[in-house]
């Protein structure tokens, strides 16, 4: 099987799922992106990305409890799988490797 690649947004979402641990669900991820990254995010894009990552086997999900804040609706809580962690690690290492190739700033 060909090596799985992640898009930039996919990687972002996957990383946040890993970071948010037990509280990773659509709206929370969207808010987290908005506050931390200072970028406007489309809720539906987050959802679709989550579904796609789940299809690829990097995430798994289950229904969590409902809160009053959500009009009684339950959340779908995502957790990262081993494959997800592996792909994140692989990507990070690949990036670090690449970064090492970039000539460092020299003074003098």
């Amino acid at each position: 099987m060909a090596k799985e690649f992640l898009g930039e947004f996919e990687e972002l979402v996957l990383t946040l799922v890993a970071a948010l641990k037990d509280d990773a669900y659509g709206a929370a991820i969207a808010e987290e992106i908005e506050t931390r990254m200072k970028r406007d995010v489309n809720l539906s894009a987050v959802h679709v990305t989550l579904y796609r990552l789940e299809d690829k086997g990097f995430l798994k999900s289950g229904m969590g409890g409902g809160t009053n804040e959500r009009g009684g609706r339950r959340k779908r809580i995502y957790t990262i799988t081993n494959a997800g962690v592996a792909v994140l690690k692989a990507m990070k290492e690949a990036r670090v490797d690449l970064w090492k190739l970039v000539p460092q700033l020299k003074i003098g």
Partner: protein, 878 residues
């Protein structure tokens, strides 16, 4: 929360419209949370937050959400579909012989379907190119008087202006006069002339009513001048080689016309066809009273009516017209006049009026469509039979597929794909076949149309044809799909012996249907052929063979008839010469003369067909004189004062002693007398009865010279031609044989039969294909059984009769059903003839013998190998 519920409801209603239900809860929850978050953060006012909520919801309308029917999409139905196609293709290649049979059968069926669509499209769109066609009516009339009941498409030319003036509901009126063959000379200086068949003369309002595309000239003014003429593109090309002809002159008969416009060729599916359109209709002035002219129809009248026109109201309002214009003569002849309105687009197929231009026949279309459907059905049955028969070979495959989790629906889909794949292959073949038939065979000539499979200009044809083939594929695949998908998996897998699908009865019925259809079509065609042969060979009361007919073109020749006659009679091959105004078989039988005739209640007006003839008419035509005497030769007082009546006239008038009875033309002042009675002769086709007829000798012979020849016909023709050309040099010498022209009246009947003939061959062929497939399969299946039978002493003939028995019994049963049906159909068809042949029941026996022979030989050839095989080999067969 509650005050927001309306916004939520709206947003979530929209979300529910497209969102898969299992995602609904989490998405709704996230949306609410986000909205509350927006409000709490204080960045947004309530209205803006609401807008954001709605906008966020709308943004969920995306493929990633909508198409997420299931949480997981591991099962890919598209892959399965491809797999079905691959499978179907393998089956196709594996069973080459049967696939070939199926494809050829289906291709024939689809070709028939495509050609049918072409024919129907051609005929059903007649005259619809005229933009106003649903507001255009043709006015005909039913004219009744003693001895005549005439439903005619024509009306008097005096009527149209009256209607225009009296009815506010009528917007425009135009009249058409159709000319026969006319001599056309491109210009005065030119010596070369042509005969033009399609010339009409019309009022200047013609182009206000009918839609034609102008290539040159002005639509409004092109017909206002009486000497103007409009040419079609092809006429202008023919006479001048260019369409730049405005202002040029053209000599038509003896009048010079100037060309004012050129229009595009009239579409073939128009009931009025013309190449040259002359302007203006001259008035008629030869009637004693104006009212008399109204009773003498002569032109086609077309009305363009206003929106909301009601034909029924028109009929009522027509009464005032009648009282004003018709009544005077009407009372005198005790006649009755009823107007008939026909919508323009309905004329071609539905008009039954006489004196009409050539038309189509809706029954003919129905027959064609019916037989065409039959053929498609036969082709589909072939497929069904072969597919289900082969089920025993495929039951294992089906069982395995089922075990692997395929549902009935899935299997049915696979079988449909198989049949549709076949029909698509057939479709491509059919396209080539149709193009070939239309281009390279005389098919178009046969049906008298100019059909073409013009896919580039009419891409919708391709879509329709494609639709037909998909339809055929579905129809053919329906039964196999239903049956084969039901084969029980467990039983098939457990029982080692190959189970045999039990639908033999259905298959028998299907073959029976094929046989019934084939026999029905074949016997009907033969019966119709009988009738046409009967009509052609029947004694018509005159001798139609060996009579030359030569048109007398102008008065110069009329004056020289006697010297011409004397000169050509010198040739020993020429027996006698006569002239008459109308020729038998060409006479417009609708033309009846209202004549005063003696009856028991004194002189009354009665309708007669009248022949105006020259010397020696009876002798030349071979008409038999029953009593009285023939006209005297020479100008000895028989001119116009003596009549010969036929038996029908004697009967119609109730004359006991016809000789000496008084007869006189409507306008004549002096009585004439009947001097003899001739036996009835069929001057029109045998579709109609012999009408009461009078024959009258006229002083100035004109019309057509008719010459009875014998012996060396070509030499006789040569001598007449020499004579003729020395006198009439401007007109090309022309002649035809009386019998040929007479038989042309049955042209449409003959066409129908030829077409049916072709279709019946197709029926036989397709049924035979099916039979070949099935019997070869049966023979193969019973190879082992045959081996055992042979060991036990059976001979080959036994084995073959064993195989063919079933088909032959089916064939006999089928004929028992089909024969009465075809007899009934043919009796109904023959009602269109006044003279009918009796039904030859032997035909059915012959057809049956032929059919049984065909079945036997097909089975024989297919099972020959199986039956001949050495039992040692066949017993090894698995």
């Amino acid at each position: 929360m509650s005050k927001n519920s309306r916004t939520y409801r709206l947003a979530f209603w929209f979300l529910r419209c497209f969102c898969p239900p299992h995602l609904l809860e989490e998405i709704e929850g996230d949306l609410i949370q986000r909205y509350e978050h927006d409000l709490k953060s204080g960045n947004y006012k309530v209205r803006r937050a609401k807008r954001r909520l709605v906008w966020n919801t709308i943004r969920f309308f995306r493929p990633g959400i909508i198409l997420r029917g299931k949480k997981s999409r591991k099962i890919n139905s598209f892959d399965m579909f491809i797999n079905h196609i691959v499978f179907a293709w393998r089956i196709f290649k594996k069973e080459k012989f049967h696939s070939l049979l199926n494809v050829s059968g289906l291709a024939l069926g689809i070709s028939v379907g495509i050609i049918l669509v072409l024919i129907l499209r051609y005929d059903l769109t007649y005259d619809q190119q005229h933009i106003n066609h649903n507001r255009i009516y043709r006015l005909g009339a039913r004219q009744q008087m003693q001895g005549d009941d005439f439903h005619g498409a024509i009306t008097a030319r005096e009527l149209a202006p009256v209607l225009q003036a009296e009815f506010s509901q009528i917007e425009k009126v135009t009249r058409l006069e159709v000319w026969g063959r006319t001599l056309v000379t491109p210009s005065v200086s030119e010596t070369k002339s042509f005969y033009e068949e399609e010339i009409i003369r019309a009022d200047s309002t013609y182009f206000d009513i009918f839609t034609h595309k102008f290539l040159a000239g002005d639509k409004a003014s092109c017909l206002t001048d009486l000497n103007s003429v409009v040419l079609t593109n092809s006429a202008s090309q023919k006479y001048f080689g260019t369409t730049d002809v405005i202002g040029k002159t053209i000599l038509i008969e003896n009048t010079i016309y100037s060309i004012t416009a050129v229009i595009e060729d009239v579409p073939e599916n128009s009931h009025v066809k013309f190449k040259i359109l002359l302007a203006g209709l001259p008035d008629r002035d030869w009637f004693d009273t104006p009212s008399e002219s109204f009773w003498n129809p002569d032109v086609y009248t077309y009305l363009l009516v206003k929106q909301g026109f009601n034909p029924k109201e028109f009929a009522v309002a027509f009464q005032t017209i009648y009282h004003k214009y018709f009544k005077e003569t009407g009372d005198r002849i005790e006649g009755k006049y009823t107007p008939i309105l026909e919508p323009l687009a309905a004329i071609h197929l539905y008009s039954t009026l006489k004196a009409d231009l050539p038309q189509g026949n809706i029954m003919y279309l129905y027959t064609l469509a019916g037989v065409g459907m039959f053929i498609i059905l036969l082709a589909c049955i072939n497929y069904m039979n072969l597919a289900t028969a082969k089920s025993s070979g495929r039951s294992m495959e089906i069982a395995i597929k089922k075990t692997l989790g395929s549902g009935n629906k899935n299997l049915m889909g696979a079988f449909f794909i198989e049949s549709i794949l076949l029909s698509l292959i057939s479709f491509i073949l059919a396209l080539f076949l149709v193009a070939f038939i239309l281009k390279f065979t005389s098919f178009n000539l046969l049906i008298g149309k100019n059909l073409a499979l013009d896919i580039i200009n009419q891409p919708e044809l391709l879509i329709v044809a494609f639709g037909i083939s998909i339809g055929v594929g579905c129809l053919a695949g329906s039964y196999p799909a239903l049956v084969l998908s039901r084969i029980p998996a467990m039983k098939t897998l457990r029982v080692t012996q190959v189970s045999y699908f039990s639908g033999t009865n259905t298959r028998r019925i299907l073959i029976g249907v094929q046989f019934i259809v084939s026999i029905f079509v074949v016997t009907s065609t033969l019966f119709m052929q009988d009738q046409i042969d009967f009509v052609r060979s029947r004694n018509l009361g005159f001798e139609k063979e060996n009579v030359l007919v030569i048109p007398i073109q102008d008065t110069v020749i009329q004056k020289q008839i006697t010297p011409i006659r004397n000169e050509i009679l010198k040739n020993p091959n020429i027996l006698s010469v006569t002239t008459s105004q109308n020729v038998i078989g060409m006479t417009n039988t609708h033309e009846k003369w209202g004549m005063w005739a003696e009856s028991k209640e004194g002189m009354k007006v009665n309708g007669f067909t009248v022949f105006f003839v020259g010397e020696n008419y009876l002798q030349t035509m071979g008409i038999e004189l029953k009593e009285g005497r023939d006209f005297r030769v020479g100008e000895q007082g028989d001119l116009l004062k003596s009549f010969l009546a036929n038996e029908a006239a004697v009967k119609a008038m109730g004359w006991d002693d016809p000789i000496g009875k008084k007869v006189r033309f409507y306008q004549a002042t002096e009585d004439a007398h009947v001097i003899g009675v001739v036996k009835d002769f069929n001057f029109a086709s045998l579709h109609s009865n012999v009408e009461p007829t009078l024959i009258c000798k006229i002083p100035q012979e004109h019309g057509f010279l008719q010459v009875r020849v014998t012996g060396n016909v070509s030499e006789a023709i040569q001598s007449i031609q020499n004579q003729w050309e020395s006198i009439d040099s401007p007109h090309p010498f022309e002649y035809h044989f009386l019998d040929k022209r007479f038989d042309e009246q049955y042209k449409s009947d003959v066409t129908q039969i030829k077409l049916l003939n072709a279709l019946s061959y197709l029926c036989i062929f397709i049924s035979a294909l099916g039979l070949i497939g099935l019997s070869s399969f049966h023979a193969l299946r019973r190879t082992k059984e045959f081996g055992i039978r042979k060991v036990l002493g059976a001979r080959m003939s036994h084995l073959i009769s064993l195989l063919s028995k079933e088909a032959i019994i089916l064939m006999i049963v089928a004929s028992l059903i089909a024969a009465p049906a075809s007899i009934a159909t043919v009796i109904w068809w023959k009602e269109g003839f006044a003279f009918r042949s009796s039904i030859n029941y032997l035909t059915i026996v012959f057809v049956l013998i032929g059919a049984v022979g065909l079945v036997y030989s097909v089975v024989f050839f297919q099972s020959y190998n199986a039956a001949r095989a050495n039992p040692v080999d066949s017993l090894k067969h698995e």
